[in-house]
């Protein structure tokens, strides 16, 4: 594929992605604005893939080494942090208590790390 053909193809999918991006979140309740922001934040963590490509360049000099390595560190912080934060937010969104359902999900994490001492208050009912 020539460079121009590739470019045209890339621009095509770029434009389609714009419309898809608008379409896919066109009706979000206010309640979910924050988790959605956090979720999209995790998705652009895909930048780590680009960072890996830079770091995996053959015959690179010290400059690219350092920059690429830094980029991998930052990118993976974005990915992991983004998804974990979003998950912690969404974990909170439950309907009325259904204790059985909860244990079935198989999340291995403890009930909660936050709450600073007042957790007991939430445990009733």
């Amino acid at each position: 594929m020539s460079h121009t053909m590739l470019l045209v193809f890339e621009v095509t999918i770029l434009v389609l992605a714009i419309f898809l991006g608008f379409e896919v979140i066109s009706k979000v309740p206010t309640l979910l604005h924050t988790p959605l922001m956090s979720g999209t934040n995790a998705i652009h963590g895909i930048v780590v893939v680009g960072a890996m490509i830079v770091l995996a360049e053959p015959g690179k000099g010290a400059f690219t080494w350092i920059i690429g390595f830094l980029a991998v560190v930052l990118g993976s912080a974005n990915v992991v942090g983004g998804f974990v934060v979003t998950d912690r937010m969404l974990e909170m969104f439950k309907k009325r208590e259904k204790p059985k359902q909860d244990s079935g999900v198989g999340s291995t994490e403890p009930p909660n790390s936050g709450g600073t001492g007042s957790v007991g208050a939430g445990a009733e009912k």
Partner: protein, 464 residues
């Protein structure tokens, strides 16, 4: 792994991201959506790692362990109240990564006789510029929300002019690069200017506008990542980055709309700056005095009410009083009081912040009422308890055209028979605006830390 196979696997990742966004738009499926997205991300990372083969694979692993470890620990350790700044932080590092990729790519291509094609140099300039702005802006947003620096808007004369000049200079350097001036140092200076611009651009923004800015910076990072995709000829970066760029932009607009403000107004209006018309706004208080009450009086009011509505705000989050509030609500319900919560869309520091917080305390979903529903109830409500909220109940938004929040939909708590405001002191809220509600004859103030006050109320209601 062949190029075709890896592209197909990348397509799987892209599909999962689209599904993730779709699912994230509905409370029932949101968490599943996030998990699907994470799985797709893992696919993309593993594919890329295998493709990298033997070259520096261990450096990639070490980098990912460091970055991922930091991300996991920080995201897990942080309290629910500090979520907004974590989103800003993780967004910033993503933007930083995009800018670094641009620097590395130009460095790879430039040594003579290399010449980047116009589209690649344009992509390099864009991702360096936008990525750096996003990085610096997000770090300032983080510092503001973490209260490392002053949360209020920081303004000085000629600010817009200075910002504009810096941005245009950076843009000029970028154009020179695209036009064919072959010098890496141009890009470094551009990155430096963009970083300064990012700082200056977020400094004057404060108050309830922070979430909107973080959302905008999130969209920026998406765009920067899409540009990185053009540099590296990588589809998954282009599509995912643009998905985030587009959906993030729309989300930013929707957030602005929820606050009845345009994005331009958010960015350049220095919301929350203490207005010169502050004196005029204060005049609206009718010279009324603030009445303060003690917890016992309030406990009596609550216990003998038919209907009590709690209005939580950021003060609840700071004091970590959500569990205590739920306990108080349970006690009142046991005494036959009808209890509900009125949630303003932008209460707290992020939209949905209060829903997350109260859900953490196991408050049932159906007791959380949104703006319109709650406003319909206030006339039939005996006591409204405002817990650490301020601007979202400020009647100036309705009445005072000079107020910076004029026109923002608010909770009309002054329609209720009585209002109790739990507040640390008479200091104006995060946005720095005077609130005439506190001077309303219906209002009594219960000063103190929200958690301490609620605990005191629990004890006093119990003793009745």
């Amino acid at each position: 792994m062949s190029e075709n196979l890896s592209d197909l696997l990348y397509l799987i990742s892209i599909v999962t991201f689209i599904l993730a966004l779709r699912f994230l738009s509905n409370p029932a499926t949101a968490r599943r959506g996030n998990q699907i997205g994470a799985a797709g991300m893992l696919v993309a990372i593993v594919v890329t790692w295998i493709k990298a083969g033997h070259i520096s694979w261990w450096a990639i692993v070490i980098g990912m362990v460091i970055g991922g470890g930091f991300g996991a620990v920080a995201a897990r350790k942080v309290k629910m109240t500090a979520m907004p700044q974590m989103v800003a932080l993780f967004n910033g590092v993503g933007g930083g990564a995009a800018a670094l990729i641009a620097l590395a790519e130009l460095h790879r291509i430039l040594p003579p006789p290399g010449t980047p094609t116009d589209d690649v140099s344009l992509a390099i300039v864009l991702s360096a510029l936008i990525g750096s702005i996003s990085f610096a802006g997000s770090m300032i947003a983080f510092a503001k929300l973490q209260e490392l620096i002053q949360g209020r808007p920081i303004t000085y004369p000629g600010q817009q002019f200075v910002n504009g000049a810096i941005f245009l200079t950076a843009l000029g350097l970028g154009l020179a690069l695209v036009a064919g001036v072959q010098d890496q140092w141009l890009l470094w200076v551009l990155v430096g200017l963009a970083l300064v611009f990012g700082v200056l651009f977020v400094l004057p923004i404060g108050g309830a506008d922070m979430p909107v800015v973080i959302s905008l910076l999130n969209a920026f990072t998406g765009l920067a990542v899409a540009a990185s995709g053009f540099e590296l000829e990588n589809n998954v970066l282009i599509v995912s980055g643009m998905l985030v760029g587009a959906s993030g932009t729309l989300l930013t607009v929707m957030m602005g709309r929820a606050m009845n403000r345009s994005i331009a107004n958010v960015l350049f209006g220095a919301f929350g700056k203490i207005q010169e018309s502050g004196a005029a706004a204060a005049a609206d208080t009718d010279g009324g005095a603030v009445r303060s009450a003690n917890a016992e009086d309030v406990a009596v009011m609550l216990a003998y009410a038919h209907k009590v509505v709690f209005v939580p705000g950021y003060g609840l989050a700071v004091a970590q009083a959500q569990h205590d509030l739920h306990q108080l609500a349970d006690q009142l319900e046991a005494k036959g009081v009808e209890v509900s919560y009125a949630i303003h869309p932008v209460a707290g520091r992020m939209p949905g912040h209060m829903n997350v917080l109260l859900a953490e305390a196991n408050v049932p979903y159906d007791e959380l009422h949104e703006l319109d529903e709650a406003n319909g109830e206030f006339p039939r409500t005996d006591v409204v308890v405002v817990v650490g909220a301020n601007d979202v109940v400020n009647p100036d938004a309705r009445n005072n055209q000079g107020s910076p929040i004029y026109g923002m939909p608010i909770l009309n708590v002054d329609d209720a028979q009585a209002v109790v405001v739990l507040k640390r002191s008479m200091n104006p809220g995060f946005a720095g605006i005077e609130n005439p509600l506190f001077y309303n004859p219906k209002t009594v103030m219960l000063f103190g830390d929200a958690k301490a006050s609620v605990d005191q109320l629990i004890a006093d209601v119990k003793n009745l």
